[in-house]
């Protein structure tokens, strides 16, 4: 801003004003460096980066939806369920309405229909979550744990547990295509992230999410329509999950009722790493973006090292717990520092250390 800033140390000047984001940037750089060092030949290749940017958008979309809910102090564990239900519906529509020799003129309207049905179903599923959460005051963890089962259950009934394979090429392009050399899913994810960031930071709805997440009672007293905002939040999450579902089946060319169950843990992991506050009131899209990429680097790096595939869930779990403990320690330290400084907060001393190094 315009006020004369005191001289800051170099790192301070490079980094942003947001401690959470700074920490994340340092973690990302560290993991990037580690992966380059461990896989000197394969990690720093164009091929690797292209392959990574095919796989993280689905997780990224799920994590974005989750982030919206977490900012209100809630959570949506049903995103994978929604993604599977909506993609199974889209797949069944495409497979039953189109044969291998359908004329191209017939393909496009069917694809549009399938995608529309998927997205609308996602929004409806989110509406169910939002209504239950906001009307019945049941904890979102329990609500969405339940609806997750319901949504995947419907998908299983519809498919009897079998995979639904075989989609038109035009559809597969959504998952495997390239545009200007970059994967199509990456564009979809970045577009969604940009919209979410804009909504969060610039609109009445977005600001309401933060206020509700900070203090729901005060939000009600301030005249914010809490229920309607919550319903719309879960609807947005459902929409993003459906979008993720479309990319998933377009990439794998088949829809399965139980695809990607481990995504939910990873989506939670992304948000915690991104610094989205579990109890609500804080979160940034930039953080989610950075966290998704970081996690993908970790995952790709492990793959290159022929890391035991059976140990993957174990690794994610350990990582999740480490991040939670680290977050806790950082908040504690911050609180201690602030309370030691007593009521009139002193200005930060010029040569203060940057957080973690």
């Amino acid at each position: 801003m315009s006020e004369p800033a005191p001289r800051k140390p170099l790192l301070r000047r490079i980094l942003t004003a947001d401690d959470n984001l700074n920490r994340l940037i340092l973690v990302s750089v560290a993991i990037f460096a580690a992966m380059v060092a461990l896989n000197p030949d394969s990690f720093l290749t164009l091929r690797n980066f292209v392959s990574m940017s095919y796989s993280f958008p689905e997780l990224g979309l799920l994590a974005l939806g989750l982030a919206l809910c977490m900012i209100t102090g809630g959570i949506d564990l049903s995103v994978v369920g929604i993604a599977n239900l909506t993609s199974v519906l889209a797949a069944l529509l495409m497979v039953s309405l189109l044969g291998p020799d359908s004329p191209p003129a017939a393909v496009v309207p069917v694809l549009a229909l399938a995608i529309a049905v998927a997205l609308v179903t996602g929004v409806l599923a989110g509406w169910c979550n939002g209504m239950i959460v906001s009307r019945f005051r049941i904890h979102p963890v329990l609500v969405t744990l339940g609806t997750w089962q319901v949504f995947s259950g419907i998908a299983i009934i519809l498919t009897k547990g079998y995979a639904v394979p075989g989609f038109p090429d035009a559809f597969l392009a959504l998952g495997n295509g390239r545009f200007l050399g970059l994967p199509v899913p990456l564009y979809l994810f970045l577009a969604a992230a940009a919209v979410v960031a804009l909504v969060l930071n610039r609109t009445r709805f977005g600001l309401s999410l933060f206020l509700i997440g900070t203090n729901e009672t005060a939000a009600r007293f301030a005249g914010i329509p809490v229920r309607s905002v919550l319903v719309r939040t879960y609807m947005s999450s459902g929409f993003l999950a459906a979008l993720a579902g479309i990319i998933m089946i377009a990439r794998t060319n088949q829809a399965k009722a139980d695809y990607g169950e481990s995504y939910i843990l990873q989506a939670v992991l992304v948000n915690l790493l991104a610094g989205v506050r579990w109890s609500g009131g804080y979160g940034r899209v930039t953080g989610v973006l950075l966290a998704v990429v970081t996690l993908q680097m970790l995952s790709s790096g492990f793959n290159m090292m022929r890391f035991n595939n059976f140990a993957r869930d174990f690794t994610w779990g350990v990582f999740l717990i480490l991040i939670m403990v680290a977050n806790h320690l950082f908040t504690e330290r911050k609180r201690r520092r602030e309370s030691a400084a007593a009521t009139p907060r002193p200005a930060p001393t010029p040569n203060q250390e940057t957080p973690s190094s």
Binding site: R202, T203, R204, F205, L207, S208, F210, L211, T214, N215, T217, A218, A219, R220, F221, A222, G223, I224, P225, G281, Y282, A340, A341, A342, T343, P344, R345, P346, T349
Partner: protein, 504 residues
């Protein structure tokens, strides 16, 4: 011969990261003396308590407890010599019973591994007997009213052979009658030779209960002496460092008959309140007072649409109005400053900016809900300047402000809507004298501009000096109405009557 000094602080200095929080403070308390420590928020009261408790050892100065110096000053040594602090949150275990809360420390101290319930109950009973109160031993503490929780905390302090009990703002969450009860307990303790350090900025209470008093301002002692040497005005002036105007609010109806802003007819939401009728003319400040459970808060929530009334009617500027939701109340021009600043008002971790614009989001939102941030910033800057909110900038989180400044932020949030009717519920609870004065002046200015102000409060001096009419609620009904000649004594008499009929 006066009893010996129990506590002597001599020239205490304490600094935090460059902030000189205590600048050479002296304080002495005799055995069995009720001593009051007064001062505005941020004057160093809490720091001084923590020095005595050994939490913050002083950098300079001497701490003498029970006749000898403490060197170093540690929490353990302070407790050993009989100092017990009752903080505002009481530090109790809400999920444990009264008996468990009382006996827990003893059990742990004695290194017991096996719990014998008869012993725990005996300890608890002994503790309560010392404050001559009875409480349900098996009830979880979290289910008790605040006043009873406080008694548990006091009783627990006594189990540690307390010689000096420090109470930090003990009356903040209490009703008038509970305060009386607390004072009786304090009298009993004094009779046993236990000294009390009573920290407060409620002047009436200070004058009533204490024998001596010490006043802090900006970390320095500015006055000390027997309480009889002081009155409300001199205490306030010592605390704020400036002379205070103490005028009563007078309402003069403007020329020509202006229609009432608010007319309430037979409003009710049984069993909380029923059959409530009154009117507020433009420029009036009408007080509504009543004991806890009188339906005061429910009535306010009814007018604000949070607990919509089920009977009766409301007219605003002559137009009939149905208030079924907060949105409807806001749209009609009714604003409500809630009772509990921390839980119902503020978004503590959010910026002052966001706290202020929270109520005007619809006005700031344009197409697709995009907010006009330039306008928001202008608006917020204006309020910060206008209210003299002490903050480096608007991006500071609300939790870093003092109580008085927080309350100003809340008031700004609601005034930003330019309401027709402003309903305030206990607007100066836990607010320092300077901010209190500023808030009262502001209310008068708003009334003068033609706003209708409804002031709900159980702070009788506040009601008496700021309202031109006072309504008294009792068990959900309007029990009496007073004009501006009302005095505290009259209101107190009516309260006593209420207490008599209510039984309990």
């Amino acid at each position: 011969m006066p009893p010996p000094q129990f506590l002597e602080l001599d020239d205490i200095h304490k600094r935090f990261a460059g902030v000189h929080a205590l600048r050479g403070v002296d304080l002495s308390i005799r055995e069995g003396e009720v001593h009051c420590l007064a001062g505005e928020n941020g004057s160093g009261k809490s720091t001084l308590i923590k020095v005595i408790a050994g939490v913050h050892p002083p950098e300079e100065g001497r701490v003498r407890i029970g006749g000898s110096d403490l060197d170093p000053v540690t929490p353990l040594e302070s407790i050993r010599r009989g100092v017990q602090v009752i903080y505002q949150d009481f530090s109790l275990f809400p999920n444990l019973s009264v008996a468990e809360n009382l006996a827990l420390n003893n059990e742990v101290e004695q290194g017991r591994r096996i719990v014998r319930w008869s012993r725990i109950r005996a300890t608890a009973r002994e503790a309560l007997a010392r404050i001559r109160r009875e409480l349900p031993l098996h009830r979880p503490v979290g289910e008790l009213p605040v006043a009873d929780r406080q008694l548990v905390a006091i009783a627990r302090a006594l189990l540690h052979d307390a010689r000096l009990v420090i109470m930090d703002e003990p009356t903040t969450a209490l009703t008038q009658r509970e305060v009386e009860n607390l004072f009786t307990v304090i009298e009993n303790l004094r009779a046993e030779g236990i000294a009390i350090l009573f920290v407060s900025h409620k002047l009436r209470e200070v004058l009533r209960i204490s024998e001596r008093l010490t006043i802090l301002r900006n970390g320095s002692k500015v006055a000390e002496g027997p309480t009889t040497d002081f009155d409300e005005r001199s205490i306030t002036e010592a605390m704020t460092g400036r002379s205070v105007r103490d005028e009563k609010f007078h309402y003069t109806a403007g020329p020509g008959a202006r229609p009432p802003v608010l007319e309430v007819e037979g409003l009710g939401r049984p069993p909380a309140y029923r059959g409530v009728s009154f009117r507020v003319d433009p420029g009036e400040i009408v007080g509504i007072t009543g004991l806890l459970g009188s339906g005061r808060t429910e009535l306010a929530l009814g007018l604000f649409g949070l607990l919509p009334a089920r009977e009766g009617s409301v007219r605003l500027d002559g137009q009939p109005l149905r208030i079924r939701s907060v949105e409807e109340a806001l749209a009609a021009g009714i604003a409500y400053v809630p009772e509990d600043r921390l839980t119902e008002g503020l978004f503590l971790e959010q910026s002052i900016h966001r706290n202020i614009i929270a109520s005007i989001l619809p006005e700031l939102a344009g197409r697709f809900g995009f907010l006009d941030f330039a306008r928001a910033r202008r608006e917020v800057e204006e309020w910060i300047r206008d209210f003299g909110i002490a903050t480096p900038n608007a991006e500071v989180p609300a939790q870093s402000l003092s109580g008085g400044n927080q309350q100003r932020v809340l008031l700004a949030r609601w005034l930003a809507r330019t309401p027709r009717v402003l309903v305030l519920n206990g607007p100066t609870v836990g607010v320092d004298v300077g901010s209190k004065e500023a808030i009262h002046q502001r209310l008068r200015a708003l009334a003068a501009e033609g706003m209708a102000v409804l002031l709900l409060s159980d702070d009788l001096p506040e009601v008496v000096s700021n309202c031109n009419r006072v309504l008294l609620l009792r068990e959900g009904r309007l029990a009496a109405e007073f004009d501006e000649s009302v005095t505290e004594e009259t209101l107190n008499a009516h309260f006593a009557e209420t207490a008599g009929t209510a039984g309990v």
